[in-house]
């Protein structure tokens, strides 16, 4: 038997790691992976609360979060390819102009 707070702390650790990666990483693909890490942390807290309150809606919401994450990954990676094609770099510090 594991207390609910353990699951919540683990989900908080994952979310904090995601935010830290979002802030300190300079590679645009790694920044994108940090966003996925944050979504995973949120999913864990959804499932933990669903198990505590015996409500299956939490697991359905995890399904929706995954669908949105998949759509976001497809569009985001397409944007990364388009950025790399025009700038020839993946470093976000050099991607600072709206128009070349």
């Amino acid at each position: 038997m594991v207390p609910l707070s353990c699951y919540l702390v683990l989900s908080g650790i994952l979310f904090a790691c995601g935010v830290t990666g979002f802030l300190i990483k300079r590679n645009i693909i790694t920044i994108f992976m940090s966003i996925e890490l944050m979504l995973n942390g949120v999913n864990l807290s959804f499932v933990a609360f669903a198990a505590q309150w015996k409500a299956l809606s939490g697991q359905v919401f995890v399904f929706f979060v995954m669908v949105v994450a998949a759509a976001e990954a497809a569009v985001g990676l397409a944007i990364i390819i388009a950025v790399f094609r025009t700038r020839k770099t993946l470093n976000v510090d050099y991607v600072n102009l709206l128009k070349l």
Partner: protein, 173 residues
């Protein structure tokens, strides 16, 4: 006891993978540690009795999405990231700020949350129940996500195709 042991094993794998994602410089190493995080999260879901969520975590996240990431890393031939002055500023300000935030959130959660324990497999999260819920109570959101996925597919094709693609396609057609 076994439940707690399994939770600790999967949780440690999760945390180690997440920290390794931050430490590694090369994107492919970060991507592989993210696969470790997602795989051990599937184990945590199984401990919570969410079988269906664990299955689609492995299939969709660790399978499809991560393959997409690795494919793009290989396609763009991404090398090690370089340190710039901006990244140093973010490192100096971001890490302490996040540590303070994480400690505050963890303290709040441990102080305020109940000590109710979650039994292994307490909730029947099998595909049949989830599917019934999905196609009765959540039918409209489900249909809306299908439109979202359709738009995402068209957007990805439009964004990733080379600039001269439209003209040549018209000429051939």
């Amino acid at each position: 006891m076994l439940h707690l042991l399994l939770f600790l094993v999967f949780g440690c794998a999760c945390g180690a993978g997440a920290i390794n994602l931050l430490v590694q410089r090369h994107p492919i190493n970060s991507a592989l540690s993210l696969v470790v995080v997602m795989g051990s999260l599937a184990g945590e879901y199984l401990l919570l009795g969410a079988e269906f969520v664990a299955a689609i975590q492995v299939i969709v996240y660790a399978g499809a999405i991560m393959v997409l990431f690795v494919f793009v890393i290989m396609l763009l031939n991404a090398g090690e990231e370089e340190r710039t002055s901006g990244s140093r500023v973010a490192l100096v300000l971001g890490v302490p700020g996040m540590l303070i935030g994480a400690v505050l959130v963890a303290w709040l959660l441990v102080e305020r949350s109940s000590t109710v324990t979650v039994a292994a497999g307490a909730l029947p999260g099998d595909p049949q129940t989830i599917g019934w819920l999905l196609f009765h109570d959540y039918l409209l959101p489900f249909e809306v996500t299908s439109i979202l996925v359709l738009i995402a597919i068209m957007g990805a094709v439009a964004l990733a195709s080379p600039p001269g693609m439209d003209a040549s396609a018209k000429k051939e057609g």
